[in-house]
Point group: C2
Amino acid sequence: MKHHRVHFEDLRRFIEAAFLAHELPAADAARVAALMAEADLQGSDGHGVIRLPQYSKRLRAGGINRRPDIRVVQERAAMAVVDGDNGMGHLVVSRAVDIAIEKARSAGVAWVGTRLSNHAGPASLYARRPLEHDMLGLYFAVGNANHLPPWGGMEMLLSTNPISVGIPADEEPPVVLDMATTVAAYGKVKAKAKRGELMPPGWMIDRQGQPLLDPRRASEGFLLPIGDHKGYGLALVVGLLAGTLAGAAMGRDVIDFNTDHQTVTNTGQAILVIDLRAFGDPAHFKHQVDRLVRDMRGSERLPGVERIWLPGEQSFEKRRRHAQEGIPISAALLDELAGLAAELGVEPMATNGVQT
Amino acid sequence: MKHHRVHFEDLRRFIEAAFLAHELPAADAARVAALMAEADLQGSDGHGVIRLPQYSKRLRAGGINRRPDIRVVQERAAMAVVDGDNGMGHLVVSRAVDIAIEKARSAGVAWVGTRLSNHAGPASLYARRPLEHDMLGLYFAVGNANHLPPWGGMEMLLSTNPISVGIPADEEPPVVLDMATTVAAYGKVKAKAKRGELMPPGWMIDRQGQPLLDPRRASEGFLLPIGDHKGYGLALVVGLLAGTLAGAAMGRDVIDFNTDHQTVTNTGQAILVIDLRAFGDPAHFKHQVDRLVRDMRGSERLPGVERIWLPGEQSFEKRRRHAQEGIPISAALLDELAGLAAELGVEPMATNGVQT
């Protein structure tokens, strides 16, 4: 299928214009746009501009508060709960991460949870933020639609509830794990559907327990957890930690934001930040990470394996390549965004003319 | 295969006597024995008394410090690093958990890492400890032998690096996830070998990439991670968090304690404790957990599924059953322990005479 290349700055500007047209405050529109464009830049194409039409629907339907009063409602030396007042999730989680970084600077470690937040894009955007401060980040979130039944069940009571961990290295790219607790994230299912591709077996099953391969039939089945009962257990505890603990939705309370654009989602996320300085010399730690990364990458490979990758390394390389060559956006998505631009009365997104 | 039933108190007393014979201080022998017997009580049979012969070998070989000076070497309001001085891991981690609980009481959240610790038994023993204080626990550990290559590799640079999360409920059993980041924990492989059983396909592969089913050939192959590259990523970040961060061994530095009984293992573990009171009313939270547990358990099941289990629920039921009926110990293990008892000059373990 055809892809066009879009410069990061053109993508960011287009998204910003769309949110300005939705009457978000300028600083908020800029912040959300930068994070969404960053998602596409790093190759998280299920969580970037592909979500803009959906966010627009929700904004139009009144399902998101354009001018939220995002504030701390619980606080101790090493924790806080941020009430997002139903604002854009990117804003709520950014605030939570900023607070966690500040608190970790003195307490050594800090956990900040959100409630009344919304979908915030790829987990790694947030787990990666503390790295520039010589800190680690662990991020947990409740997904915005339930696609996963408990192990042995067929009622979808859980979401893909992702886990992301960002760990800085010295000369090497940081180690950045970003994983759904299901074999595939639902965003990847959607991206397959947009691209008109089939899913591999093992991603989803239908209500008869048979493999479901057509992503356009995704609503007829459910995702499979990694490691069978283990992935179910992970999804459950991530949901309790990121959702229930801070008073956000979990289980039957989760709103399916694919079909319901109005009801407040009460999304929950949690970030744990650890200051490396509390444990010793950050330079020493980062040097150790370099050494471990090189040990993994340089170790003996199974026959037929070209390269051993570290978590986050492929995103890191994509980011570099996309920054140079532009970000690939499918022709179908570009058409959809052109339609949205017309509706919102903003300039359509510029592409750099390269088609692949 | 034949099993005898042993009362918890007989098991605990036998282990205590063994450690006293090894010249551990009385309080330390009692504490380790209680935790090891607790492991068997909850059905973690790969991590209980089955490890006693190995711990004994290591104590005899001078690989564990009988009289360690376990102390805090780094500290802030919400974190600490505990240097275990190469003492028994159960003692070092217990200390770490106690400190984390104390710190969480004021800071709301606390992370305590260990270095120069040793194998400490099943992760859930420690993640469960904060629950009685209306706190949550998250526990991470570096395993004591590398059985897992990076994804696509065949050099075993990673261990099964477990994750455990303990979350209290009100009337329901607590949610206690305890999972290796591999499809099977190595302790389960050992337990299969002791019981003379084959492993199911998917637990291990050999160096040709073929399924390995005979647990007695375990040294010829390696464990498989859950969710392919995801489990590899989890094992790696758990190792960095539980090991590298606090200055403990990780990657090539990990000592295989199955074959080397002398070298200091420098094992690392980490516990994160979260005080529910910092987030609101603990009773409200625990009530929500009850509701979610019941929603999961009562939800529609796939054809042929008898029951939907919650993480930790089977251990909870085993604990109750084993407390009443005694803990099943295989005849082979009992023989081995009788031999150990003779060597150490302690009374052999009493069984309750029931054989199954």
